[in-house]
């Protein structure tokens, strides 16, 4: 469910960004991740995980603003339109058993491809936005999403997986044809934001799973004990 109007303003996003930077700055000091020698993909996965959580927060604010910009019924909390024109959007929802059975490479590849498409669509959204404030917020989010894409690419590289190559002619476009009405366009925008939110949620799960998988048992115990410390 997408958030309704009245979400935190953009100023909060900057605050969260500062917070994230602080977290990232101190990440090397976390005992579980600060191992001598080759750190492996662990830190990269942790960073990617943190970034997805940060983007989740940032999107909550952005989506509230954008859906208000679209107007009712798109900003109503229980609005759930049919997915008419948004079939080209990469779907984040997947059967749980299928999701569990994914191997690391496939998991990362799906993430990478999904965000590549979503980023492209999001940039199209930015071009259509009428207000400067909204364009600024969207551009900021696109930059962050680009960062996430780079982070996923980094994890894949650390694990030795090649990046998926886009097939020629399959570059996603977000230019509605003449038959594509403005109402359908608004529904597509709605689905884009919703799918993006679902993907960020799924990515957090993905990277959390990867993180646990990559951590040595001792470090896990350490973290476990620290958690009990609270």
């Amino acid at each position: 469910m997408l958030p309704a109007a009245g979400e935190p303003a953009a100023g909060d996003s900057w605050g969260m960004l500062a917070c994230l930077c602080t977290v990232l700055w101190h990440l090397p000091a976390v005992p579980a991740l600060n191992r001598t020698g080759d750190p492996g993909p662990g830190p990269s996965i942790q960073k990617t995980y943190d970034l997805t959580r940060y983007l989740e927060h940032q999107l909550r604010s952005l989506a509230g603003t954008y859906l208000n910009y679209l107007g009712p019924p798109f900003n109503e909390p229980d609005f759930n339109p049919p997915r008419l024109g948004a079939e080209t959007l990469p779907r984040a929802t997947v059967n749980l058993e299928v999701w569990r059975s994914l191997n690391d490479r496939l998991r990362l590849t799906q993430n990478y491809e999904a965000y590549s498409h979503l980023l492209c669509y999001l940039r199209g959204l930015n071009r259509q936005a009428a207000t400067a404030e909204l364009r600024r917020s969207l551009a900021h989010f696109c930059t962050s999403l680009q960062g996430l894409l780079g982070s996923i690419a980094g994890v894949m590289a650390a694990l030795g997986y090649p990046l998926p190559q886009p097939l020629p002619g399959t570059e996603p476009t977000w230019t509605p044809g003449p038959a594509h009405s403005d109402f359908l366009q608004k529904m597509d925008d709605f689905w884009l934001l919703k799918e993006l939110q679902t993907w960020l949620w799924r990515s957090a799960k993905d990277f959390n799973r990867l993180k646990k998988k990559m951590q040595p048992p001792a470090a896990a115990v350490t973290l476990h004990l620290e958690a009990h410390g609270f």
């Binding site: 910009y69 107007g71 019924p73 009428a130 009405s181 608004k186």
Partner: protein
């Protein structure tokens, strides 16, 4: 055969030509049916577009025709529109006609047919309609896809205030379809089984992204919608005007009004069109536009500003001459040059306009925000102006604006520059005054001066120079330099005269000197005193002109109340002035201000002329004096309030009111005036009209009466508060006399009592001796006087008694008493007891005749504890102690009391109610009761210790024993004489 065929063709052609000719010439109306009717649908404008031809027309023939068009909706019989369309028709010409539908065309099938009629003037007969063309169907629903629900019109752009019809087409044929406008459900009309229409009236702008209208099947997940783009109405540009700053570029400005931009429609565009040159330019900004002036010296311009968006166009025009619209640019480089104390030159520059054109510039000089000078200067490029009559050390603001000289259109923007003039020496001497007083026996002069006003200071005053010149010793100077902002100094002088010069100095130089002469002699304070009246403007002080050579006057006063330190104020006045108004914002009502008027002699010496006191506004006294009452008699008392100061009151005290509340029913004394107090009580009032009379005797009072009084001062405004009356009670009339009698009497009695006390022994002996003393008896003197030596007095001590017989003399009552309580010893009372008397000397212990008292009371019990000892018989033993022992309780009490009294005398080991001496005679003792008593020597006379008998120890009823014993003792006491 061929010939026949040719003939037949020729005939037919001839026949056709003939028919055509007939129709032309004879004007025979022909049925010209529209043909090739085609209908197309334009969804964007919701238009039906018709096109047809009329083939029946002759070549080159033009006819004016009317086409009647019918439009049906849903079915051919449902005709919703009929319109006659007139036009001129040529042969084979394709005719066009459009019709805009209110209902979106996608929601319903439309059917169109038409017929025609010749409506040409050249055909005189009235025409007749041709046959109808066949119905043509325009069904946009065929173009729809397979979605279950459609809403139309898609993405329609309308103006605010329009009416819009929305419809939906449902393929699922369900009734539970709801439609919403911006989330609010709307209700419409069902046109068909699957089509409903909703009319939105007077739609308004909501957002740039459009107004959302959507329909959905309830609980079906089917949803369709449109975005209705409502644009604000394009306004006509307001305040359209053009001007140039340099005759090269025209700048046109306007107020664009509201922005009509939507995501579906860009903001309105503005185009500037000049009719004389025929040029136009598309403006890049929504409220201004630049137009390059052509080189061909075009002077007159006719501009039209056209605003347009997708829905509307608005335009506005102006016509003007270029040279009459010159608005020069703001001057620049405005700078002060050669700034002196009173003059400054301002220079500035302007941007040139064309060739050899001049500008009229206006230079304004402002001081403290107000324009004080204004000058107009005509310049070409460089401007310069000399400002004079400036004040030294003053901040000024110069500002310049310019206008085109040839034709004034507008002033340019202002340019301002701040500058300060230079300082100059102070132009006036400081206003100096002095105050003379004696400090430790030395005349001390306090010098005060007022800071120079800004006008006269001409700069920042740095210090004051005080030059003290001894007039009696001309060579003696003393120079003091007092840094600003001090405004006073103190000089200790001697008895000489001094001339004091005070000058104020700034960075440029000194001011003229202010000269004052003071003398060490004390001032003459004995001058005329008067009063001044305060008004709203202040105090109007006047004085008598000083005959002689007064060069001026000075009025001196203190701003604050008398009880506060004086802030000395003064005012200089000319020699011909004899009155002035002293005003100050510090003056307060109810405060006495004292003014001293001095005359200034030609020698600059000040002499006190008069003293004045006054109030800005007199008030009623706020406090009453502390009154002391004295000399209270039964008819009068005296009131006194000598400590009351009349000087420090909120008004001139004119006198006092003495209020006396009389006794109820008592009339006021004639000197008093009857008055009614605010609380409606009657009072007697006496008015003292002399403020210095501070005592008053209240007389003619009634004795033993309660009076209440109060003394309150009064001013011209009113009297003090009547709130705290003091009560006084007059004393009794005779009490005074009685006191004079009773006191001496009491004194005398006291004296007598004291004397009696001191001589009590003597009196006792004289008047009532304890026992007659023959030696002191007057008989002796009588005897002696008779000189009879043989007569003497016998002393008792000299007598040696032989025996005393004690006779028991029973009394009737006692016998009766005893008879009622028989005791074992009763019978023994009848026998006379034989007693042996001891000598009366103290410490007698030698053998002699013994007196043996046998107290039967103690026969049994007391003897158990008896021990023998020698106790002297004291003749002073008071017999009365024994008297009341008539009951066991009394006995015990007496015993205890005696015991307590004798504890100090009796040895501790014998502290057991040792009392009445009783000789225990072993011989005459009761042998039965004391079988264990040791035998005692017969000759030893002893007192047997008598012990109180505890009740429990007594074998006999203690009451009886005690009573008996008491009786016995009493009897013994009585009989031992």
């Amino acid at each position: 055969m061929a010939v026949f065929a040719v003939f037949q063709t020729t005939f037919l052609l001839a026949l056709l030509s003939l028919r055509t000719y007939e129709s032309e010439v004879l004007s025979e109306p022909l049925p010209l049916t529209p043909e090739s009717l085609k209908v197309s649908v334009n969804s964007t404008c919701q238009c039906l577009h018709l096109q047809w031809t009329v083939h029946s027309l002759a070549y080159h023939q033009e006819l004016k025709m009317v086409f009647q068009i019918q439009i049906s909706r849903f079915k051919t019989s449902n005709i919703i529109w009929v319109e006659n369309y007139s036009t001129t028709v040529k042969r084979n010409q394709v005719l066009h006609w459009s019709w805009e539908s209110e209902l979106p065309l996608e929601c319903a099938a439309h059917f169109i047919r038409m017929r025609s009629m010749v409506d040409d003037a050249r055909i005189p007969k009235p025409g007749f309609w041709s046959n109808w063309s066949s119905w043509e169907e325009a069904d946009a629903q065929n173009m729809l896809g397979h979605d279950p629900l459609f809403v139309f019109p898609k993405d329609k752009l309308v103006e605010e205030g329009s009416n819009v019809t929305i419809c939906y087409v449902s393929r699922i044929h369900q009734d539970n379809i709801s439609c919403y406008l911006e989330g609010v459900q709307i209700y419409g009309e069902q046109l068909d089984r699957s089509v409903s229409a909703f009319e939105l009236k007077n739609v308004s702008f909501i957002r740039e992204k459009g107004t959302n209208v959507f329909c959905k099947v309830d609980q079906g997940g089917v949803l369709g919608g449109i975005v209705l783009f409502v644009s604000k109405v394009l306004e006509e540009p307001k305040d359209f005007s053009c001007e140039t700053q340099d005759l090269k570029t025209l700048t046109c400005t306007w107020d664009p009004g509201s922005d009509t931009g939507l995501t579906k429609q860009p903001s309105q565009s503005y185009t500037l069109f000049e009719s004389f040159s025929g040029k136009k330019t598309l403006c890049k900004h929504r409220n201004w536009c630049d137009w390059q002036v052509a080189q061909d010296s075009q002077e007159t311009y006719n501009f039209t500003l056209l605003a347009e968006n997708y829905l509307r166009k608005r335009s506005v025009s102006i016509l003007f001459n270029l040279t009459q619209r010159v608005h020069p640019m703001t001057p620049y480089n405005l700078l002060p040059k050669n700034v002196g104390a009173t003059k400054a030159t301002m220079t500035w520059k302007v941007h040139s306009i064309g060739n050899n054109s001049t500008l009229l510039c206006q230079l304004e000089l402002l001081a403290e925000g107000k324009v004080i000078q204004q000058s107009n200067v005509s310049i070409k490029v460089n401007g310069e102006y000399l400002l004079s009559e400036l004040e030294p050390d003053t901040e000024y603001v110069a500002r310049v604006r310019c206008a085109y000289t040839n034709h004034f259109w507008k002033w340019s923007e202002l340019i301002s520059q701040k500058f300060n003039t230079a300082e100059a020496a102070p132009s006036e001497a400081p206003d100096v005054w002095r105050n003379l007083k004696m400090v430790s026996g030395h005349p001390t002069v306090s010098l005060f001066w007022k800071p120079l006003s800004k006008v006269h200071a001409n700069g920042k005053i740095l210090f004051y120079n005080v030059i003290v010149e001894n007039l009696d010793k001309p060579s003696r100077f003393e120079v003091l330099s007092i840094p600003a902002p001090a405004s006073s100094t103190e000089l200790t002088l001697d008895q000489c005269s001094y001339q004091i010069h005070v000058t104020a100095h700034n960075s440029v130089g000194p001011s003229p000197a202010s000269v004052i002469v003071v003398s060490g002699d004390p001032e003459n304070e004995e001058v005329e005193k008067g009063r001044v009246n305060g008004t709203e403007d202040g105090f109007s002080v006047s004085w008598k002109p000083q005959s002689g050579d007064a060069t001026g006057y000075v009025v001196e006063w203190c701003d604050g109340p008398q009880d506060l330190p004086c802030v000395l104020q003064w005012k200089n006045l000319g020699p011909n002035t004899t009155s002035t108004v002293i005003s100050s914002g510090d003056f307060r009502p109810g405060v006495r201000y004292n003014f001293r008027i001095y005359g200034i002699s030609t020698k600059r010496m000040a002499h006190l002329l008069e003293k004045k006191a006054g109030y800005l506004e007199e008030l009623a006294p706020s406090d009453n004096p502390q009154v002391v009452m004295s000399k209270l008699t039964s008819h009068s008392f005296t009131l006194s309030w000598k400590d009351y100061s009349t000087e420090s009151q909120p008004g001139f005290i004119q006198g006092y009111h003495v209020y006396l509340k009389p006794k109820a029913g008592e009339q006021c004394h004639p000197a008093f005036e009857k008055t009614v107090l605010p609380e409606d009580s009657v009072c007697c009032k006496y008015t003292i009209d002399n403020p210095e009379q501070k005592t008053f005797v209240v007389e003619n009072l009634q004795p033993e009466s309660v009076y209440e009084f109060i003394v309150t001062p009064y001013t011209s405004v009113g009297e003090g508060p009547l709130d705290a009356f003091t009560k006084v009670t007059t004393p009794d009339e005779y009490s005074h006399t009685l006191i004079h009698i009773i006191l001496p009497m009491i004194f005398c009695i006291l004296i007598v009592m004291i004397i009696c006390y001191l001589k009590s022994q003597w009196l006792k002996e004289k008047c009532y001796p304890d026992s007659p003393n023959p030696y002191k008896s007057s008989v002796l003197s009588l005897i002696k006087s008779k000189e009879n030596p043989h007569l003497t007095i016998m002393y008792v001590n000299d007598c040696v008694p032989d025996a005393i017989e004690v006779i028991n003399k029973p009394e009737g009552s006692k016998i009766q008493f005893l008879g009622t309580r028989k005791s074992p010893t009763e019978t023994e009372f009848t026998k006379p007891a034989c007693l042996y008397l001891l000598p009366t000397e103290k410490n007698y212990s030698g053998p002699g005749p013994c007196i043996c008292f046998e107290n039967f009371t103690y026969n049994q019990a007391a003897s158990d504890f008896a021990s023998c000892g020698h106790f002297p018989v004291t003749p002073q033993a008071p017999p009365h102690q024994l008297g009341p022992l008539t009951s066991p309780e009394n006995l015990l009490k007496a015993l205890e009391q005696n015991y307590m009294n004798s504890l100090g005398e009796i040895p501790a080991g014998e502290a057991n109610l040792n009392y009445v001496s009783q000789l225990a005679s072993p011989t005459s003792g009761d042998k039965d009761s004391l079988p264990t008593n040791p035998p005692e020597p017969a000759l030893c006379s002893e007192y047997k210790m008598q012990t109180a008998i505890p009740l429990g120890l007594a074998s006999a009823p203690p009451s009886e024993n005690s009573s008996l014993s008491s009786t016995t003792l009493l009897g013994q006491g009585e009989h031992c004489r």
